[in-house]
């Protein structure tokens, strides 16, 4: 009431700026926005631009930038090679494998992890003490540090003294199974751990969504004779659509970033078969002192991520 009176009393041509001055919003903007922009620029935008600028160079990482002149040698630190880094990346078998693996992570997240999270969310979303306990248990893997999780599973899956050994003994097998050392299995083990670790996170998103569905709608459906499955598929899931789209969004972007689990479990092996895009970037870019190449992979990753986010926001999530 007060606000609308103020607006009515003010001159008709008052700009948005003046209005913000008047109600103190401008002060808030000036206090909070510059630091955010500064931090975002320094830690996100600048490194992205840098990676883009480094990617056409062959550069070992010595010197401030590849095009700087090294006074001690009279040459630049890096060497301009145009699109060679991108061409090499695209033709590299380990890169193709890491791309397939990353797509697998995304596929498994969407096809297995989200339905699992949804099923569990539907079972325990109502508030009760026992449900709280279950939520906590299911959420625990998400809380654990990725590297610790990877280490734990590298022990669990070890055929000499891990659970794999105990299982083999139990079954009376002569040979224990070393899943992380077998090319066909190594990456599926990582996928399994990814599902185990992150389903709780998606479950929480769904629980929050389910709890916000009005009980009146559900009651009305019940009175009209809707069965449990009918109310799930015809009411809850459609109403949960915004939560599902957010979950898918996180699953895809998270899938593009998997790294910390891979390093302790397989370090990308055996024979570079279990790299994700990020572990590939790290191994072939930074460990091998080939910053230009690493930057090229980074640029690829960035383009894929941004293209996905842009498309997704403008199609699936449109209007939300």
């Amino acid at each position: 009431m007060l606000v609308s009176e103020g607006v009515a009393a003010a001159p008709p041509r008052e700009s948005a700026f003046q209005r913000m001055m008047a109600n103190g919003q401008l002060k808030m903007v000036l206090i909070f926005v510059p630091p955010a922009i500064l931090i975002f620029t320094v830690f996100v935008i600048l490194p992205m631009i840098q990676a883009g600028l480094f990617s056409p160079y062959k550069w070992s990482g010595y010197g401030p930038v590849p095009w700087a002149l090294n006074e001690d040698t009279g040459r630049t630190f890096g060497r301009w090679i145009g699109t060679t880094n991108f061409e090499r990346m695209m033709s590299h078998s380990a890169f193709k494998q890491s791309l397939v693996n990353t797509l697998l992570v995304i596929g498994v997240s969407i096809a297995i992890q989200l339905p699992l999270a949804m099923t569990l969310a539907l079972m325990i979303y109502r508030s009760s003490r026992i449900n709280t306990v279950f939520r906590l248990i299911f959420f625990l893997p998400y809380v654990m540090a990725e590297v610790a999780t990877g280490l734990i599973f590298s022990f669990v899956l070890d055929g000499n003294y891990g659970l794999s050994r105990s299982f083999a003994d139990l079954m009376g097998w002569e040979k224990a199974f070393f899943p992380l050392a077998e090319k066909p299995w190594a990456f599926y083990c990582i996928l399994g751990v990814i599902v185990w670790k992150y389903f709780g996170f998606h479950m929480m998103i769904f629980i929050a969504g389910l709890q916000s569905i009005s009980s009146e709608v559900l009651e009305a459906a019940k009175i009209d004779g809707a069965k449990t499955l009918q109310s799930v598929f015809l009411i809850k899931l459609p109403l949960l659509w915004p939560s599902i789209t957010i979950s898918v969004f996180y699953a895809v972007l998270g899938g593009l970033q998997v790294f910390d689990l891979v390093m302790p479990m397989t370090a990308g092996g055996p024979s570079n078969s279990s790299h994700t895009l990020v572990s590939y970037l790290y191994n072939f870019g930074f460990i091998r002192l080939n910053i230009g190449f690493g930057s090229a992979v980074g640029v690829f990753l960035f383009v894929v991520g941004v293209a996905f986010a842009f498309l997704y926001r403008n199609t699936v999530q449109r209007g939300q």
Binding site: S60, G61, Y62, G63, P64, N70, E71, D72, T73, F77, T84, R88, A94, S154, L157, D158, G159, N160, K175, A176, F178, P179, L180, A181, E182, K183, A186, T266, A267, G269, P270, S271, N272, S273, N283, F284, F286, I287, R288, L289, N290
Partner: protein
Amino acid sequence: MKLKSLALTSVFVLAAGIAHADVTVDVLSINRDSATWKQLYEDIVAEYNAAHDGVTVNVEFMEDESFKQKLPTLLQSDAAPDLFFSWSGGVFYEQADQGFLRALDDATVAAWKEELSPGGMAALSYNGKYYGAPEASQNVAIWYNKDIAAELGVDPSAIKTYDDLLEMVKVAKAANVTPFTVGGQDKWPLHFFYSMLAMRIMGQEGMAASAAGENGGFANEDWVRAGEEFVKLVELEPFQDGFMGVKYDQATGIWGDGGSLFHLMGDWDLGASRAAASDGGLKDEQLGVIPFPAIEGGKGKITDTLGGASGFVLTKNAPDEAIDFLKFFMGEKAQKRAASEGIYIPTVPSASGLVEDVVLKQFANIGGASTYHQLFLDQYFGSELGGVINDVSAQLATGDVTPQEAAELLEETRAFQ
């Protein structure tokens, strides 16, 4: 107020520094896990500091991996050390090429070559300039477990050719004994097999020609044959179960627990396997060492050695005092003590005879009789090509590339460098 006093204090500190003409020499080393090795460093530094007024030497230790990652940034900063540890090889060449290192003058080089190992100094040279002093000598050979050999009724010391080795692997397999333990996940333990075979097949000249891109670089019949010979071994399934999921530390623990007949590894494995094994590892009398066997029709000799050549190098802003200290640090006195205490196998020729440890002595002998010492290939060829050598060695061991493809992959990477 506070700032002002701080500024004043620092002025005083600076003035005091100038008054005594104090020079600080900062040394950056990788972690020396063995207590005796660390003690050796500390004693040498203490002795040097006591004898040289106005010079203070500080040694810092850093874990291997973080050392590798921080060094490029560190070398470009004001906090660069004056001396730092180097494994030599491609990374060192890059540092020298980019002008981050200080070269020794000719007189110093000539004087040092009298006392230190000329071969070791050559490993720390680039384009005719010398940048540092060598420390320990490292060699790779085949270790064998004498108890297991006795049980099998075989004598590995009789192995002269690669075929002999393959025969013994078959004997072990038939008796359900694992022939080799290897930490395949790390890849580099597998690259020893490929490297050794390549050296035995092509010899020193062949290796130099590959590095220079002559004879098709790596895409020639010698490299293909090295792959084929390796595959012959791989087809006998010589490694322990799940070898691709195990790192070196674990693998050497398995070896130390008596898990296999052979172990292809360097002399450093003595301490490492004893530390990683569950009950102190294999005793001296259980351990045998043989050089990697010769190969039929190969140009390389059985006395050619593969190993490391590590030492300390100078950074470009290092003061003259750092050169003086380096000579003392890697000098005869320190290396003789290292030899007699069994800390490492010295490079200084006059010290190598002092190695008393029965096992290390065998490595010292192999190193002493070396007709051509090849630096580890994954370091010699630099981080990129070296990384690919490790990759293809692992892929050959899992059957993911053919010897022909492996050679082509190597050549493709070399041509790009």
